[in-house]
């Protein structure tokens, strides 16, 4: 088995899987019907991307394992999503701030991955880049709208970014796996995405009148290496409970 590629696919998959789950939790609770529709659209795209990467990971792993096994029967420590995707839906400002930070990251990531020498990754990314381009433009609009809207919305979105900022350094943390996949032309070394990402953030923040929070390294332990926030365990307990309760059943 190509362990590096397997791990890399899980990282890509789990970011989409967990973030789309948070969006699913928000279903029917949006500020207006149009938003319910739009945010569910984003969640569906992310879930589809996750499914594709899990399918590929299952194929790499072999032994008859399926994408559902990987989603529903993996242990928490084997999930490789970044902490930012695990943050609960505290309010709409947190939801949009979390989304915007991830959308910008995904945009630059998939812009590169479309050129992957691995045909499957390139194929999934070609579809994903169209989706995340829309996601980023939608969330950017909302950040500006909230930043420039009312005093309350400005304060809420600034607070959300202040609180979430410490989770952004993980996005650009790379390791030997990413470095070697980058060398082979298959994957992307996350640290190379930081400059573009930061520029995009600055651009939208300046339109929105939001201050870029101070950079702080918050953690020595990261989700992408299997060490998670306390939030993830509860999310998985809910998401996985039926397949675990009925191990012999097919759904």
């Amino acid at each position: 088995m190509n362990t590096n590629l397997y791990t890399y696919c899980l990282r890509l998959a789990d970011n989409g899987l967990i973030l789309s789950h948070r969006i699913a939790e928000y279903c029917s609770a949006g500020p207006q019907l149009e938003e319910d529709l739009a945010i569910t659209n984003v969640g569906l795209d992310l879930l589809g991307q996750a499914e594709s990467f899990l399918k590929y990971a299952a194929e790499i792993k072999g032994g008859g394992i399926t994408e559902d096994d990987l989603a529903y029967k993996r242990k928490e420590k084997d999930f490789l999503c970044v902490h930012l995707t695990e943050i609960p839906n505290f309010d709409y400002a947190y939801i949009m701030a979390r989304q915007f930070l991830m959308d910008a990251f995904n945009f630059y990531l998939y812009s590169k991955l479309v050129n992957s020498k691995d045909d499957i990754i390139a194929g999934i990314s070609a579809k994903a880049i169209k989706e995340v381009t829309y996601h980023l433009s939608r969330s950017s609009d909302w950040i500006v709208r909230l930043g420039q809207g009312t005093q309350e919305s400005h304060q809420r979105i600034q607070t959300a970014f202040d609180e979430l900022w410490m989770f952004t350094d993980e996005l650009f943390e790379s390791d030997e796996i990413e470095k070697s996949l980058e060398k082979e032309g298959i994957g992307v070394d996350s640290s190379t995405l930081k400059k573009d990402w930061q520029m995009k953030i600055n651009e939208v923040f300046s339109l929105a009148g939001i201050n870029v929070p101070k950079i702080e390294k918050h953690s020595l332990q990261y989700g992408k290496f299997g060490l998670h926030t306390e939030y993830l365990g509860y999310l998985l307990a809910e998401m996985q409970h039926i397949p675990l309760l009925y191990p012999d059943a097919k759904w």
């Binding site: 029917s28 609770a29 019907l33 709208r145 909230l146 039926i242 759904w251």
Partner: protein, 313 residues
């Protein structure tokens, strides 16, 4: 005098199957009747997102999660079409929501029942969407243009929902013993509520006659109910499921299925909002609406700012 003539012309248009459009003259009662019916329909679509959303985070496979998420999104879209159609009658969405929150507007009481197992998601698609389609297909021929066009769009998606729900129940019926029980239990709990979705018997329905004359409704509650029962029994029997009605029997003379008398006490109890379901659904909707107030205000404030800017420039 004027009005009597207008009314006559109006009825002539209806009789000739010419659609009534927002700018056309219409009797005030017709307008009120439509406002009530379309908004009730819209509310049902959006309140219906909740019992299904209840299982979205526990959908047991990636495929089923995607299908359910897309379905709930469809229902939000249906709500949107219908609010837009209702708004052409001169009432704002904000007002519709206010009536809903105050309890002045109703929604289909079937959504006050709880979803207790994954099989309920199958039962809702198969039975609740299945019953809704029968009604909605008939409403494609409604006399009010915007309502009719909304129904045409909605019907296309509803038949997917019905099939996807049936597929869940079919898979469970072929699954483990526990899964089969789950499917049967869901049918037991959803069958009668789905039958009651068509409303009271023709003789007891407050709005029925006038609605038929104005072609707001095209067929009576009992006709639609019978069509639903007839098409559904066979679908359940192929799967080896039993309907919770010992009097259910094909009537050789009519060619239709006879069912037991409907328990109208339960129906009116649920319609009147007795029981926990109604409170939970409304409280959820009110909370989402209140929590979102600052977001809507921000969006309006921003739009006003931009408009002011573009006027100066």
């Amino acid at each position: 005098m004027e009005d009597a003539k207008k009314l006559e012309e109006f009825q002539a248009k209806i009789d000739a199957d010419i659609k009534i459009e927002p700018k056309d003259w219409m009797p005030e009662k017709y307008r009120q009747n439509l406002v009530r019916q379309i908004s009730q329909h819209a509310h049902s679509e959006i309140i219906g997102m909740q019992p299904e959303g209840n299982w979205l985070t526990r959908a047991p496979s990636l495929r089923s999660k995607k299908i359910l998420m897309a379905k709930i999104q469809d229902e939000a879209g249906h709500g949107l079409y219908l609010y837009c159609a209702a708004e052409t009658l001169g009432v704002s969405r904000e007002q519709f929501l206010k009536w809903l929150h105050e309890g002045a507007a109703k929604y289909s009481s079937v959504f006050n029942y709880p979803t207790l197992t994954w099989a309920d998601i199958g039962a809702i698609g198969w039975l609740v969407d299945g019953a809704a389609i029968v009604n909605q297909v008939s409403l494609q021929g409604t006399s009010y243009g915007p309502y009719s066009r909304a129904m045409v769009k909605i019907c296309k998606e509803e038949s997917f929902h019905q099939r996807q729900g049936y597929e869940i129940i079919a898979d469970l019926s072929k699954g483990t013993e526990e899964q089969k029980q789950m499917a049967q239990d869901a049918l037991n709990r959803w069958w009668w509520p789905s039958i009651m979705m068509f409303g009271p018997h023709d003789g007891d329905s407050a709005h029925s006659n006038q609605s038929l004359k104005w072609k707001i409704k095209r067929e009576s509650n009992d006709e639609l109910r019978q069509r639903y029962v007839d098409k559904t029994i066979h679908q359940g029997e192929i799967l080896g499921l039993t309907f919770p009605d010992e009097n259910l029997k094909l009537n050789e003379q009519t060619g239709h299925y006879d069912i037991s008398p409907i328990d109208w006490d339960e129906f009116w109890n649920v319609v009147k909002g007795n029981g926990p379901g109604n409170r939970i659904r409304l409280a959820h909707h009110i909370k989402a609406h209140d929590d979102g107030a600052w977001v809507r205000e921000a969006a309006i404030a921003y739009r006003n700012k931009m408009n002011a800017k573009s006027k100066i420039a």
